[in-house]
Amino acid sequence: MKWETVIGLEVHTQLTTQSKIFSGSSTAFGAAPNTQASAVDIALPGVLPVLNKGAIERAIKFGLAIGATVNRVNVFDRKNYFYPDLPKGYQISQLAKPIVEHGALAIQVDGVEKTIRLTRAHLEEDAGKSLHEDFHGMTGIDLNRAGTPLLEIVSEPDMRSAKEAVAYAKALHNLVTWIGICDGNMQEGSFRVDANVSVRPVGQQEFGTRREIKNLNSFRFLEQAIDYEVRWQIEQIEDGHAIQQATVLFDPDSGETRMMRSKEEAHDYRYFPDPDLLPVKLDEALIEEMRAELPELPQQKAARYQQDYGLSAYDAGLLTQSLAQANYFEATLDALGADVAGAKLAANWMSGELASALNKAELDFAQSPIAPASLADLLKRIADNTLSNKLAKEVFAAMWAGEGEADAVIEARGLKQMSDSGAIEKIVDDVLAANPKSVEEFRAGKDKAFNALVGQVMKASRGKANPAQVNDILKRKLAG
C-alpha cells in the first residue's frame, strides 16, 4: 500500500521583549538560576499578573505579516496542571480567543511553491526548567524562564513530508526573526517545534491517528524525527496495530521517538478565563502603528528582486532566506551600483563562495568577515576584467583569510589579469614556436590540440592572461 504523510506543526517562539509577559523581570538567557525570578514569577501568595504590552505588539506584527485576522478582543485563560516548574499551578494562555487566526505562509520545496495555512497563534507564558542533573536524586527548579512570553504558532495539517515540514519551519523561523519578534536561537530554546504526525493510505480523505513529537530544537532533528515516526507508524499499521494517540519524545542519540504519555494520561486542563486579567481590547491605532513598523517582508523582497534585477525565483528565494542575507545583498548592491549585471554577479557570489565559506565557519551573513562593500570591490574587478573568475576566487580566499581588501590582495599577489594584447601576442608566439606538433595536429583537424595550446598560453602567463583574448589571438594566428 502507498502511504501519505500528514504533518501539522506547533511552534513555540520566545518573544524579544526585555521583560516577562506578566512581570517586570528580565528575560535575558543564561543568568544564574532563579536570579531573574520575581515575586510574581515564583507565584508568591497574593501576587498578580500585569500584561506586557510589548508581547501584544509582537503578536500583532506576526498576525499582519502572515495576512491573518488579528482579533480585537483578547482573553487570557488559565491552563491548570501541577508541575514543579509551573509556579502558579496554571499557565496563562489563550484558548478560545487567540490574538491571531487564519494566516498563511508560502514555502518552496524542490522549486515547487506551496501555501501552508496557519490556524492560530496565541500568547502564553513559558514555564521554568526542572534540572535533573547535579542534584543526586532530587530535582532543581530554575524559574528564570518562567513567564517568558511565547507566541505559540499552530499550522493546519497541510504538510505532506518531512521536507515540507522543515521548509515551513525554516520559513517561519525566517519570518519571526525577520520582523524582529523572536531571536530565533534554537539552542537556547527560543524557537521550539512540536510536530503532529500521522499517515494514511494515499487517496483516503480522513486523517490517520496522530502522534505528537514534542520539543524539537533543530531543523535536522525535526526531519529525522518525522522520518523515523512515519516509518514507525507505517510499520505498526502494516503489522496490524492501530496507532494510538500519544505524545512522544525524539531521542537524537538513537534517532528514535519514544512514548511520553498516552491519550488516557492526557490532562484535563480545566481552562477558564483568568479573572486576574481583564479582556484586552486592541485599538486600530495600535494595529496601524505595528503595520507601519513592519519591514518589507521576505516574499515582497523576493518579488522585487525578480522584478527589478531579473533574478530567478530560486536566487531571489535564497537571498531572502534571512534578513541578514537580504541586507547583505542590498548593501553589496549599494556599493556596486544596482544594475542587473551587478545584481546577478552579487547573487551568484553570495550563494556560491560566500555562502559556503560562511557555512563552513558557522557564521551568518550579519557576521561575515568580508563586509558587503569589500565584496563589492572584488566584484568590480571581475566586472572590469581585472580578474578572471578563477583569480577572483583566489582573491576571495585571501580576503577571507584576512589579507586585506581586493585591490590590496591583487597588488600584493600580482594577480591582475593580463589584457594587454601585445603582451599576450608575444606569449602566443612563443607557445606556437615551442609546440609545432600541436600546431600540426590542429591543422590536421584535431580540435583538442587548440585546447592544449590555450592551456600552454595560460600556464605561461601564470593564469593571468584574459582567456577570451587568448582564444581570439590564437585563432587569428593559427588561421594566418
Binding site: A43, P45, L48, P84, I141, R270, Y271, P275
Partner: protein
C-alpha cells in the same frame, strides 16, 4: 482612649496628648489581656509594632500631619506584610513570612498607621463562622458561645472588643459585612476594583475586595481614604481619580430614596432581625428618606452561582500551594505526586478541600458549560437586577445576615446552612457593588444585628453618608461588649 474614634485618636496624636508608641502599647496590652480569650489575632509582634509606632512618632515630631498618622490598625492575615508571618488562617502557610507588602499594607504604611498584628480568619477566607481557621475559632466578644462570623471574624472581634481601633478585612461573599453584623461594628466592602488586590492572598479573584472595619462609618471613610486607589500591579484595579470618601458624611438625607428588595424580607429572615431592620427603616424615614419597594428577581440564584464561581477560581488560585517553593511540605513522600498529595492533604482543612473539589469539578471537561458558563450568565442577570433597581432608588437597604450570631457547631456540620448565612451579601459581590453593614440593634440574648446598605457602582461616599447620618441619631455602634471590665458608652 481605647474607645476613641479615629478622628479623635489622630487629633490626640497631633496634639501630642499621647504618642503613637504609647497608644500602640495600650492596645498591645489589651490584646495581651483579652486575646487568649477571643483568639482574634494569629500573630502579634510587640517589638515590630512598637518599632512602627516609633517611626510614626518620628514623623509626627517632624511636623508631618495625616488623618491616620500614628493610629494603630489590625490587619486581616490575608494581606502579605513584609517581615510578618502571613498565614491566611491555614496550616499551609503556617510558616510563611511574607517578603513584601500588599498594596493595601503599603498604603497604610504611607499613611503612617501602625500594625497591631494579623487577625484570625477562616482558612483562605472560606467560611462564615471562623470555625475553619487552622488557628482555632475566634470568639464573638458579645458571647463566648457565639461565632464572630467570617471570614474576617478576627478583625470584627478585635474591633468590637476594642483590641484595635480599626482593622482591615476582605469580602468575597460577605466576609466583611457578615462578621461586622455579627460583632456589632461597621464594615464596608467597596466596589470591585477600588482597592488593589495585590498582595491580598486570592480566594476568588473576580469577587475578592478589601475594605475597612471599624466602629463607625466615619472611621470607615478615613480608612478607605487610605486604602483605595489605582494600582498598576493589579490589572483589575480601576484607574480613577482619588476621592475623599468623607466628603458627603454630613449631607442630610431628606429626599433619599431607599430601595427595599422584597426578596430580602422573605422566608428565612429571623423575626428579630426583621424587627431591627424595620426599626432602622423608621429611623431613616424620620431623617427624611422615602422607601420604595424594589425587586431583585434573580437573587435567589446568587448562592448557587457563587458556589460555582468562587470555588472554580479558588481551585485554581490555590494550586500554587504545592509544597514546592514555600509553605507546608509533607515530611515524608515517595515521589512528586505523593509530595503534592500529602502536602496538600495535610496543609488544607476540610472546607478548603471541599471547595477545591467543587471548583475542580465545575471546571472539568464536559461540565464547564453546564456550571461555570451558566453561572457567569446568571451573574450578569443578577448585576442587571441591581442596575434596574438603582433606577428607582439611591441605596438599597436590608438585613446583612438572616440571623444574629449563631453558636459554635450550630452550622459547622451542614455546609449549605452555613452558606445560606451569606444569602443577602453574596449578590453584592457578584454584581461588584459596594455594600456596608452597620449595627442596628440586638437580639433578645444580646447579640448584635446588622443593617446592610448597598450602593450603585462607586457610591461608597453615598453609603458612608447614609450610614453616618443614622449613626448620628442612634448609638448601636457605640455599645461595647461585656468583657468583664469597665465599659461604657463610646465618646
Amino acid at each position: 482612649m481605647i474607645d476613641s474614634s479615629l478622628k479623635q485618636l489622630a487629633a490626640a496624636l497631633a496634639a501630642k496628648q499621647i504618642s503613637s508608641t504609647e497608644l500602640a502599647a495600650l492596645f498591645l496590652d489589651r490584646i495581651e489581656a483579652l486575646n487568649p480569650r477571643l483568639n482574634a489575632f494569629i500573630t502579634v509582634d510587640r517589638e515590630r509594632t512598637l518599632a512602627e509606632a516609633r517611626q510614626a512618632d518620628a514623623r509626627l515630631a517632624a511636623g508631618e500631619t495625616g488623618a491616620l498618622l500614628g493610629v494603630p490598625v489590625a490587619h486581616k492575615d490575608i494581606f502579605c506584610a513584609d517581615g510578618w508571618r502571613t498565614t491566611c488562617g491555614s496550616k499551609m502557610l503556617g510558616n510563611f513570612v511574607a517578603p513584601y507588602d500588599a498594596t493595601v499594607i503599603a498604603k497604610f504604611k504611607a499613611a503612617g498607621t501602625v500594625s497591631l498584628g494579623k487577625t484570625n480568619m477562616d482558612e483562605f477566607a472560606m467560611g462564615s463562622s471562623n470555625e475553619t481557621s487552622f488557628f482555632g475559632a475566634v470568639k464573638n466578644p458579645w458571647s463566648d458561645a457565639a461565632v464572630p462570623g467570617g471570614s474576617s471574624g478576627g478583625s470584627a472581634a478585635a474591633v468590637a472588643a476594642r483590641l484595635a481601633p480599626a482593622a482591615t478585612g476582605t469580602d468575597t461573599g460577605g466576609s466583611i459585612r457578615q462578621p461586622a453584623s455579627l460583632c456589632g461594628i461597621s464594615g464596608l466592602k467597596p466596589t470591585y476594583g477600588v482597592c488593589s488586590r495585590y498582595g491580598m492572598i486570592a480566594f476568588a479573584s473576580s469577587l475578592d475586595q478589601a475594605g475597612p472595619m471599624a466602629p463607625s462609618a466615619e472611621d470607615c471613610a478615613l480608612l478607605l481614604n487610605a486604602m483605595a486607589g489605582f494600582d498598576e500591579r493589579d490589572s483589575t484595579s480601576l484607574p480613577r481619580e482619588p476621592e475623599d470618601y468623607s466628603r458627603d458624611l454630613d449631607q442630610p438625607l431628606a429626599g433619599l430614596r431607599i430601595g427595599l428588595p422584597k426578596e430580602f424580607f422573605a422566608a428565612g429572615l429571623s423575626a428579630e432581625v426583621a424587627q431591627a431592620v424595620e426599626a432602622a427603616i423608621a429611623e431613616y424615614q424620620k431623617l427624611g428618606a422615602q422607601t420604595v419597594e424594589v425587586s431583585l428577581p434573580n437573587m435567589g440564584l446568587s448562592v448557587p452561582v457563587y458556589y460555582v464561581l468562587a470555588p472554580a477560581e479558588a481551585s485554581s488560585n490555590l494550586s500554587r500551594f504545592d509544597g514546592v517553593r514555600y509553605g507546608h511540605r509533607a515530611s515524608d513522600y515517595k515521589d512528586l505526586l505523593d509530595m503534592y498529595e500529602k502536602s496538600r492533604a495535610e496543609g488544607f482543612g476540610a472546607e478548603v478541600k471541599r471547595r477545591i473539589m467543587i471548583g475542580t469539578y465545575v471546571l472539568s471537561h464536559g461540565y464547564y458549560d453546564a456550571y461555570y458558563l451558566q453561572a457567569q450568565k446568571i451573574r450578569r442577570l443578577i448585576a442587571a437586577d441591581f442596575a434596574a433597581a438603582f433606577k428607582q432608588c439611591d441605596v438599597i437597604l436590608g438585613p446583612t445576615a438572616p440571623t444574629p450570631a449563631f453558636n459554635f457547631g450550630e452550622k459547622a456540620a451542614d455546609p449549605v446552612a452555613m452558606y445560606l448565612s451569606d444569602i443577602y451579601t453574596i449578590a453584592v459581590n457578584l454584581a461588584g457593588l459596594p455594600g456596608m453593614s452597620i449595627p442596628c440593634g440586638f437580639s433578645g440574648n444580646g447579640r448584635p444585628i446588622g443593617l446592610q446598605l448597598i450602593g450603585d457602582l462607586f457610591a461608597e461616599a453615598k453609603l458612608l453618608n447614609v450610614a453616618h447620618q443614622y449613626q448620628l441619631v442612634t448609638d448601636w455602634h457605640r455599645r461595647l461588649p461585656p468583657l468583664g471590665e469597665a465599659s461604657g458608652a463610646r465618646r
